[in-house]
């Protein structure tokens, strides 16, 4: 066992009284709508993303509720005849899945939290390429708006047929997976337009990835070696690698799909000499790693939160950092586990199954390291930590149920059932959403310079958590009993499961409304936030809340981000104040 002895960290001057004078932080530095729309400030771009992504989340959420409503009984709920109801259902689950995946989960943590925090953690003024950052937002916005427009058209045409005469047909009913040949032959929906939207969205991902990698390589301050980077940066780094390597594959695949549909080039359609299974290989070559695009940043956040709120150095720093990279690389080699029953050769099945279990090992390592971090710590149950602990719960459930799906034998029975639906909601929706909310609460004071109501925040967290489990737990049981996914109707044997699940979705919604209300309340009338309300030591806590446009007034020197020795709680501040042991701090800042 070794004890950390690393030099303390400082930004070269002592803690100023909280809150900078008006007019001097990034929020109020400049005014007017244009100062937001063409801003190059990573923090403002993060907020643009925040509102955009939350809009997408709202839309995806409404459709989740509608899907759950349709499933409340086996007979049609939202339309009179079953043909109409089922078609509508197919549009709705596609919209829910596609919007949640492409517009919410993928960008949520990297584009919002990453954008805001990454340069601050690096002690930098901005990302390496501020203009590319803004461009990536507009790619996201353009792709996102177009994509949503195409998808929502289908649903609205159903509800109000007159609309179709105005803006023409649209919609998408292929599921977010666009499987061929359904997507290239049978469906009458706007597949080509939808793929175009997803194609544009891909650019946003790639540009963000490139920007993060460049920033991490070039902008690290003095003292921040690779192994002194906060773990959140490691996870963003690993995520960015996946983004730039995997997204082009998706883009090309979608282009091929469109080429087949429009130009009649036979690539996937067997009637034209193509191979539909080839499409699945291409698609999952992107979409499995995409799962890690979603989940790695969430795990990075957990490492930050658990260490700060245990006030103890993160345990096994190197193992966690390397495990992120390991997940990113092995994650590229497991896509075939989505295709065990497609007729893939037994040898391929065996290899993909084995690699799938290997990719599970780093996740287990991370979990144990978090627990070890808490051991003999000083654990504070502030809202971000509550979220962090709940996220561990969901991540462990999601990870363990992955074992059932990784083993070929059990996969055959469980794949394409509700068991899979439950599993990926625990991993993607549970882990990512809870980590995202934890991150929002953690950096909230830094973003807005305002505190929120702790008790309400914690109660809301519990309500969302209960609602979440109520919604998804039953789906494991339905799945192992044999209920296939993407079913608009079902045997009465599952009615109670579905009804519990639907009720859970509304409980969860109630919790999320509480979260939102608390946040709005905080921005409006919240108490002023101190520079460092939690006692964290990564560089963003060394600058005022909210930071100025250029983040730091001097290039800081970075020490060990997980050494909390020199932060002292000051009750007048209601926060932690940096207190270097040596009164002559100039010596420490300029070694």
């Amino acid at each position: 066992m070794s004890v950390t002895t690393t030099p303390p960290i400082t930004v070269g001057h002592r803690q100023q009284p909280s809150s900078p004078p008006p007019g001097s932080n990034y929020l109020n530095a400049r005014r007017g709508i244009m100062s937001w729309l063409i801003t190059l400030d990573h923090k403002r771009i993060a907020l643009l993303y925040l509102f955009g992504v939350l809009g997408a989340y709202f839309l995806g959420g409404v459709f989740a509720l509608l899907v759950r409503l349709e499933l409340f009984t086996p007979s049609p709920v939202l339309a009179g005849s079953s043909e109409k109801a089922w078609e509508l259902y197919n549009h709705m689950f596609t919209l829910h899945g596609a919007v949640m995946v492409f517009l919410f989960i993928i960008p949520a943590i990297p584009a919002i939290i990453g954008n805001f925090v990454l340069p601050l953690m690096l002690g930098a003024k901005d990302l390496a390429f501020p203009r590319i950052n803004l461009a990536s937002f507009y790619f996201w916005l353009a792709g996102g708006l177009f994509f949503t427009y195409v998808l929502i058209k289908g649903v609205l045409n159903f509800t109000f047929p007159v609309l179709e005469t105005i803006w023409g047909p649209g919609g998408l009913d292929t599921g977010w997976t666009f499987y061929t040949p359904y997507s290239t032959t049978l469906t009458q929906t706007a597949v080509v337009e939808a793929t175009l939207g997803a194609f544009i969205l891909g650019f946003a991902s790639i540009l963000t990835g490139v920007n993060f990698i460049a920033s991490i390589h070039t902008l690290r301050p003095k003292g921040m070696t690779w192994f002194r980077m906060p773990l959140f940066l490691w996870s963003l780094y690993a995520t960015s690698i996946i983004m730039i390597l995997a997204t082009p594959v998706l883009a090309i695949t979608l282009l091929l799909l469109a080429a087949e549909r429009v130009l009649g080039v036979g690539i996937f359609d067997p009637n034209m000499g193509g191979d539909p299974i080839l499409y699945q290989h291409f698609f999952w070559f992107y979409s499995h790693p995409a799962v890690y695009i979603m989940v790695l940043p969430a795990l990075g956040i957990l490492s930050e939160l658990i260490s700060v709120f245990s006030r103890k150095h993160i345990f096994g720093y190197k193992f966690i950092a390397i495990s992120s990279l390991a997940i990113a690389f092995i994650g590229f080699l497991v896509w075939g586990h989505h295709m065990f029953v497609s007729g893939q050769s037994p040898l391929a099945n065996a290899i993909f199954s084995l690699l799938t279990f290997f990719v599970a090992v780093p996740s287990a390592i991370k979990t144990f390291n978090w627990l070890a971090t808490m051991h003999k710590g000083s654990i504070s149950l502030k809202t971000p930590m509550v979220y962090a602990l709940l996220t561990i719960f969901l991540f462990v459930v999601g990870g363990l149920t992955g074992l059932f799906l990784g083993a070929i034998n059990t996969n055959v029975h469980l794949t394409d059932t509700y068991f899979v639906v439950a599993h990926f909601h625990y991993v993607m929706m549970g882990t990512v959403l809870f980590a995202f909310l934890g991150a929002m609460y953690y950096w909230w004071p830094k973003i807005w310079g305002k505190m929120y109501n702790e008790n309400w925040a914690r109660i809301a967290a519990i309500v969302v958590f209960i609602g979440f489990n109520q919604t998804f737990f039953w789906q494991f049981i339905m799945g192992s009993q044999g209920m296939p996914r993407r079913y608009a109707t079902y045997s009465t044997q599952y009615t109670r499961h579905h009804q519990f699940s639907t009720v859970g979705a509304f409980v969860m919604t109630a919790g999320l409304v509480m979260v939102l209300a608390n946040m709005v309340h905080s921005v409006a009338v919240g108490r002023r936030a101190p520079r460092n309300p939690w006692g964290g030591n990564s560089l963003e806590w060394h600058t005022p809340s909210p930071p100025t446009t250029f983040n730091f007034d001097r290039t800081p020197y970075a020490g060990d981000p997980y050494n909390y020795d020199h932060w002292r709680y000051v009750s007048e501040e209601e926060g932690y104040v940096y207190d270097p042991p040596d009164s002559d701090d100039e010596d420490i800042t300029r070694p």
Partner: protein, 379 residues
Amino acid sequence: MFVNGVPLVPWKLDNMDNPSISNQASLFRLLPSSSSTFAPDHDWLFYFITWVSVAAFAIVMATMIYFVIRYRRRHPDQRAQSRVSHSTGLEVTWSIIPTLIFVFIFWYGFKSFMDKANPPRDAYTITAIAWTWGWRFSYEDGAFESPELYVPRDRPVRILLTSQDVIHSLFIPDFRVKKDVVPDRLNTMWFTATEVGTFPLLCAEYCGRDHSEMLSKVHVLEDRDFRQWLSEERQAADMLPPLELGERLYVNLGCASCHSIDGSSISGGGPSFLNIFRYERPLRTGEAVMADEEYLRRSILEPGAEVTAGYNNIMPSYAGQVNERQLAALVAFVKAQSDRLTAEELEALKRLPEEDEESDEDAADEEAGDEQAQPAEVD
């Protein structure tokens, strides 16, 4: 399909209730009945992982909760009691233990999958044909087809999977088997059923509007009963008069999921069969055709050639899927829905063609004779 909440084809919905799971006991029951030779291995691994997961989950949660209570921060400036941030021994231990468990799970899942990857040589072969949205099962080299799957107990059955259009997936929960049905690719699945009974059979790969009603049943019969069923079906298939056969095919081949017979138009489907025959049909090209017998045949074999105005060209071709007798029967069924068919013509469709009757019976006799010889062949 439902119309105003009432199932239109009732057998489809009955099907969905899994008789092996009683509605009362179903809330917490994890798996359906285990009724094939695949089930025991699968279930062993399933419960093994379940218990490993429950244990791992309990350990992680208990540790977490214990730490939270034990090391709670009591005043804001309380420091951690320990500065340990690294231990190679621990890291290696908690990397190796899960790895070993994972490798075991992998190995067991792989081994039990490989043991049964290939069907035994003497397996009884059935061809499953999937289309949007239904199944049919072809027996004895296409001698007859059935909308539901009948299999003998305790005898390996191999199913050749073909799709007429998009990807489907044949899933029998009680047997723990599932395999995608991919167009233009001959996947196979096999199993040996161990329990007599009726089990649900579902489509597990999303395939469009009626994916969730793409259901059928598996009937497991004692070998004797199975053989009897085979010979009866074979005779019946040869003995039905055209209209009755056509009506069966209308349901079994899935025409019913796109074409109504009451004049209503099915959303996402095709025109109703009501009053097509001997009517002018408007085409997408702007022309119109008189729907005679030839036109109906063409519509079934080459649906893309003359697409009816107002509809999309989504109907699959049935060329090569139906034999001459079946095609004639389908045409007869469509004809019978027209008010321009005379009463005599309709009567004729309800009878077996006079001159064929004898030879048909002969054929049936012959085939019944074949059946007697069958057991020696297939056993």
